[in-house]
């Protein structure tokens, strides 16, 4: 950015005003649709269907209540259960692998890491369709466990890559100090590496939760009665009146908005790493 040029102060201030305008416009572009959809989700039908009320002035909880009564309450519960199972499975499987990539030099490491990066980009939704036949045989069709297992496949490469980069960021010197004081690898991991990684791992866990919470294709293909929230919206809520749909979108984005607020510090770096 140009410094305050003494020869052309007017040009400088003009530039500043235009720049501020662009920043405000960009933020409005993102925020306005979110704010409007939330306002409409709580708007009374009278306000929403009144063409003169651009911004609703009367609010009610009845849209959310009607949506929950339609089956969204159960679908929301299902989504939470599936997402928690996905976080647990993908961390039990992914955390050791992430640690191995972070702290060991071994033959084939680069190829294995490239394979994980490649799998991260694989369109996981395609596995849902053939999985149905396997799930029917195993009794997993239309179960939350079945959806969670499929979501774990989607989340696992991400968890491996992100935990690996979190462990890398823990200074090796601290672990070496642990060894010097007579700790073995396991003790060092649980007493030094893990506590230091906890904030990053928590952010990664919430992100995995959101990933499962948002996924719609696999959930819609693998369930029939035990719908998760996005699958429920796609198959049932789309027939409901508009304000009920906005209530659905509010419930969908609520955890995401909370997460952005809590983990905003980690968000850019996390995507930067996983998409590399």
């Amino acid at each position: 950015m140009p410094g305050p040029g003494e020869s052309a102060p007017i040009r400088y201030y003009l530039f500043k005003i235009v720049f501020a305008g662009i920043v405000i416009l960009s933020c409005t572009w993102i925020l306005l649709p979110i704010i409007i959809s939330i306002l409409y989700a709580f708007s009374t039908p009278q306000d929403f269907y009144n063409p003169k009320e651009v911004i609703p002035l009367h609010f009610t909880l009845s849209n959310i209540q009607k949506l929950l009564a339609l089956g969204a309450a159960r679908a929301t519960m299902n989504s939470i259960i599936v997402a928690i199972m996905t976080v647990i499975f993908s961390f039990i499987l992914g955390l050791p692998a992430g640690y191995a990539f972070a702290r060991f030099a071994f033959k084939g490491k680069d190829s294995l890491k490239l394979l994980i990066i490649g799998l991260r980009m694989f369109p996981m939704l395609v596995i849902a369709i053939p999985l149905v036949t396997l799930y029917i045989r195993l009794g997993l069709n239309d179960t939350l466990l079945g959806v969670a297992l499929a979501h774990t496949t989607m989340a696992l490469p991400f968890v491996i890559l992100i935990t690996s980069s979190i462990f890398v960021s823990v200074p090796v010197e601290l672990e070496e100090a642990g060894y010097v004081f007579g700790l073995d690898r396991k003790q060092t991991f649980f007493r030094i590496t893990l506590p230091l990684s906890l904030p990053g791992l928590t952010a990664a866990a919430i992100f995995t939760f959101i990933m499962s919470w948002n996924e719609v294709f696999m959930a819609a293909v693998l369930t029939l009665t035990n719908r998760t929230l996005p699958a429920f919206i796609l198959t049932s809520a789309m027939a409901a009146p508009d304000i009920i749909k906005f209530a659905a979108s509010f419930i969908m984005i609520l955890p995401a908005l909370i997460f952005v607020f809590i983990a905003r510090k980690y968000l850019v770096s996390m995507w930067g790493i996983t998409v590399k």
Binding site: M1, P51, F101, V126, I129, T152, F217
Partner: protein, 295 residues
């Protein structure tokens, strides 16, 4: 004692493989098995005999939507991705300047990263519906007398625009973080050197920033292209089957028509397209990636 140390180092030697094996086995099973099963479903009939009937149905049947779906998937990608890259470049340059509230602006711009395609579609539905924000606003301001219709079979071009708006709004954040990360990695020294030689803003952009951003832009382009072939939720919410897309047709054949073979064929086609794009990506960036790892 010496026996003990040898045992210890042996464990240490195989430990990384032991740690990776469960995750890798899980991934290989849950991707490998469905892919094999998918090939079986796509190329055999109920009796397990080889057949091309699903392929013929997909390509030639009048009730198959494959060609329109391929066309619309590509058209959506061709319109959405260039807009996203331009917008993301703009956001990145904007946030590379120092100003008050910069962190706040960054957080706001990345909010859509966590919003699902279904929710993104619904959010834009609230903006564009006939009782939505824009129609009510423009009618109140007297700019239009009748609401502009965006949704319904007879308004398909408008539905296309609605999908483009929703996807540009939601998924530009992903392109933005990749390009923004790339921009921050450009050493300040290059830019300062250019300034010493009297380079103006445009010269710096044209000859230093854009060329050095090329890898990030390529990465963003490829990843966005991969996602473009999986587009589903936003289209289903805003247009249903009016605008057919590959994943949507797979879903429809599977859950409405119970054409498991045809649905599996769609899955294989999406997988094949993605593998080709991913292969190009790995080929292009393997050398660069390995250099970074060894550093």
């Amino acid at each position: 004692m010496s026996n003990n140390t040898r045992k210890y180092s042996l464990v240490e030697k195989y430990l990384p493989y032991i740690l990776i094996a469960p995750a890798l086995s899980y991934l290989l099973f849950f991707i490998g098995y469905p892919l094999t099963q998918g090939v079986l479903l796509a190329f055999t009939d109920q009796n397990g005999h080889f057949t091309l009937q699903h392929v013929y149905y997909l390509l030639y049947s009048p009730s198959s939507n494959f060609w329109p779906a391929l066309e619309d998937t590509l058209a959506l990608a061709a319109v959405i991705i260039p807009i996203q890259v331009m917008l993301a470049l703009g956001f990145s340059l904007m946030l590379s300047a120092n100003f008050k509230g910069k962190d706040m602006a960054l957080y706001i711009l990345i909010i859509p990263l966590t919003i699902s395609d279904v929710a993104g579609g619904l959010i834009w539905y609230s903006m564009l519906a006939s009782n939505g924000f824009f129609n009510k606003l423009f009618m109140t301001l007297g700019i239009i007398n009748q609401p502009i219709q965006f949704f319904g079979w007879q308004f398909r071009p408008m539905e296309f625009i609605a999908i483009v708006l929703a996807e540009v709004w939601r998924a530009t954040a992903l392109v933005f973080v990749i390009i923004f990360a790339g921009l921050q990695m450009i050493s300040k020294e290059y830019i300062e050197a250019a300034e010493v030689f009297g380079a103006g803003t445009w010269t710096k952009l044209r000859h230093i920033i854009f060329p050095m951003l090329k890898p990030s832009v390529q990465t963003a382009l490829l990843i966005r292209t991969l996602f473009a072939f999986q587009v589903f939720g936003v289209v289903m919410v805003l247009a249903g089957r009016d605008i057919p897309v590959l994943a949507g047709e797979a879903y429809y054949e599977q859950t409405i028509l119970y054409h498991y073979g045809v649905a599996a064929l769609y899955a294989l086609i999406i997988a094949a397209i993605s593998i080709v794009i991913g292969y190009i990506y790995i080929k292009m960036f393997k050398a660069q990636y390995l250099r970074e790892v060894s550093m």
